[in-house]
Symmetry: C2
Subunit: 338 residues, 2 copies
């Protein structure tokens, strides 16, 4: 299926230098895609000139005069910057010119503008941020990773429904299993919201596994882990911190003496294979799930390699028909409740 992706070329720590290169790379890899690069004309021209990439039917440029900065309050970005590269990219999804958009910009602003422009899908109160994490068995989808710091049981149920349709659509996995993040496996564990969410999920017709704990995320106990955005964000950031600590310790041990440095040289190919395997860049690209349009958030620090994975996610989701599937599911739930 032909897919057109709008790229917010000015977002992220590296701006057009990374985003344009990643789009051009992807364009060369997948002949069924086209791109609309959104950003300041000068910046885009510089990048396109440097790479001698000709614009045309598969590669268009759309000017935007403003940039949402990384620390800008979302409400301000929404109100005051109507011609930002972020806003214009989202507008292209709204108008149907693009099937999806990707931005490495300010997460809060991206969520606020996306909600305002695209609105949520029928029956969905709030979008959630969903991302993939590596596990002992493959990978797991975790949501919400920070969009909603206060969730009701109904919100958690909606996250479970949306993620089930996402995994079914993108991974072609029938009835993916859903775990509810809690502080113990027993039904009596957790706060009131989580206990009520477990009841709703159990009655939902989803493939609900039950409660899972933090370690189940990386064990890959379920295909999906549902949690509120506060807890999800802390779990994700804590993981980043621990990974950094362990890699610093490992590096220090290999640098301790002449002998350990030699051992490090011998072990280098193994250490590099290990690093490739846990390379977080391969998991770049979080889905703003629940909107009437596909919006993918790249990590702000993404390089060309990492940004390419965010683009790939956008293309896969656009091809999967996930939004129609969520809409159908919500409508069938509404009918059976009526």
């Amino acid at each position: 299926m032909e897919v057109t992706v709008a790229i917010d070329c000015m977002g992220g720590d590296h701006g057009a230098h990374v985003t344009v290169s990643a789009a051009l790379d992807y364009l060369a890899r997948d002949p069924q895609t086209s791109f609309i690069l959104v950003g300041k004309p000068k910046a885009l021209e510089d990048e396109l000139g440097r790479t001698h990439a000709p614009t045309g039917a598969r590669l268009k440029v759309r000017p935007a005069t403003e940039i949402v900065t990384m620390d800008e309050p979302p409400a301000l970005a929404l109100r005051a910057k109507k011609d930002s590269s972020m806003r214009v990219a989202i507008d292209l999804v709204k108008s149907g010119e693009a099937n999806a958009c990707v931005s490495a910009g300010n997460t809060g602003a991206l969520m606020a503008i996306s909600r305002f422009v695209l609105k949520t899908l029928p029956g969905i109160d709030r979008p959630a941020i969903a991302s993939i994490l590596p596990t002992l068995k493959g990978h797991t989808y975790v949501l919400d990773l920070g969009a909603n710091v206060d969730c009701s049981a109904e919100h958690l149920l909606q996250f479970g429904i949306m993620a089930s349709e996402l995994v079914a659509s993108v991974e072609h996995k029938d009835r993916p299993s859903v775990g509810l993040l809690n502080v113990g496996e027993e039904d009596i564990k957790g706060n009131e919201v989580v206990k009520r969410a477990a009841e709703l999920l159990r009655a939902s017709g989803l493939n609900f596994y039950g409660n899972v704990e933090g370690d189940d995320i990386y064990q890959g106990t379920t295909d999906i882990v549902v949690c509120d955005g506060f807890v999800g964000n802390v779990a994700l950031k804590t993981s980043e911190g621990l990974a950094q600590l362990l890699s610093t310790y490992l590096r220090e041990e290999f640098k301790r003496s002449v002998f350990t440095r030699l051992a490090g040289l011998v072990a280098l190919p193994v250490i590099n294979a290990f690093k490739r395997r846990i390379d977080h860049r391969r998991y770049n690209g979080a889905t703003l799930l629940g909107l009437r349009g596909i919006v993918i958030k790249s990590h702000g620090s993404a390089d060309v390699f990492a940004f390419g994975f965010a683009i790939e996610r956008a293309v896969e989701e656009a091809r999967s028909g996930v939004l129609a599937h969520i809409t159908e599911r919500m409508s069938s739930i509404e009918k059976s409740a009526a």
Copy 2:
């Protein structure tokens, strides 16, 4: 200072085999300690006979006829097992015969029985579970790790006060810094409870750093990280899961071929030094903080080496006078508020 520690010898996955050996080891290391071993007489006699350890003034045995099992509901353990090794060990702290107790048993039961028998310190509504985690700079105290799945802003403030006194007393660190776990550094981030807790902490006279994020735990940004028990438990368990994933991946990469196995042999001393450094057994021993008595929870799976660290924590806290310091601080806060 002379310290007497009561050991719940029947708790944990390995029972008396681990707990008695660890107590005897500690006794040999620190002549200023004595132990009261609590448990089924037969089990204790077997262990003491096996090791030919003579009882006496520094090593006493206190019989208990029951055992709290690992999956027993805390309320049931509290009501129905008044002669459990756990209960008797806590009773010894209450009566003053012991300065502290250590148990590797059921966490929920240990907390419920400790609260019932010892009560909380004046001005403290709820005890919290505090533990040490390794960081890039040394280590950080994190609480609550799971005792309270719903916390008010006032509870979070109390956790900050208690932990400040704990770190000041045990680590001789004046005015340790306190971070509040949140989803962003800015004041506007987080849910209502966390925002209000930040206001209370800022006005408390503690050395309040402000909001910290999940990765700050392992970066060692602050001496103390305060959070509610739901979030803290998820952060801790997620860390355990990630550490397990990474060590599995590393092992797999070293086992991939004859070459990588050889590289693994060469790198073995380095890998072992790395493993020693991140050995979670060195961080065994969580404090049930806020009680009128010192109660230390060991991991259920602790071996003799790990259980020794939990005993060490009990001895250090008993010597530090932390309970008197928390009481003084709470009383001075009450006076200044009056």
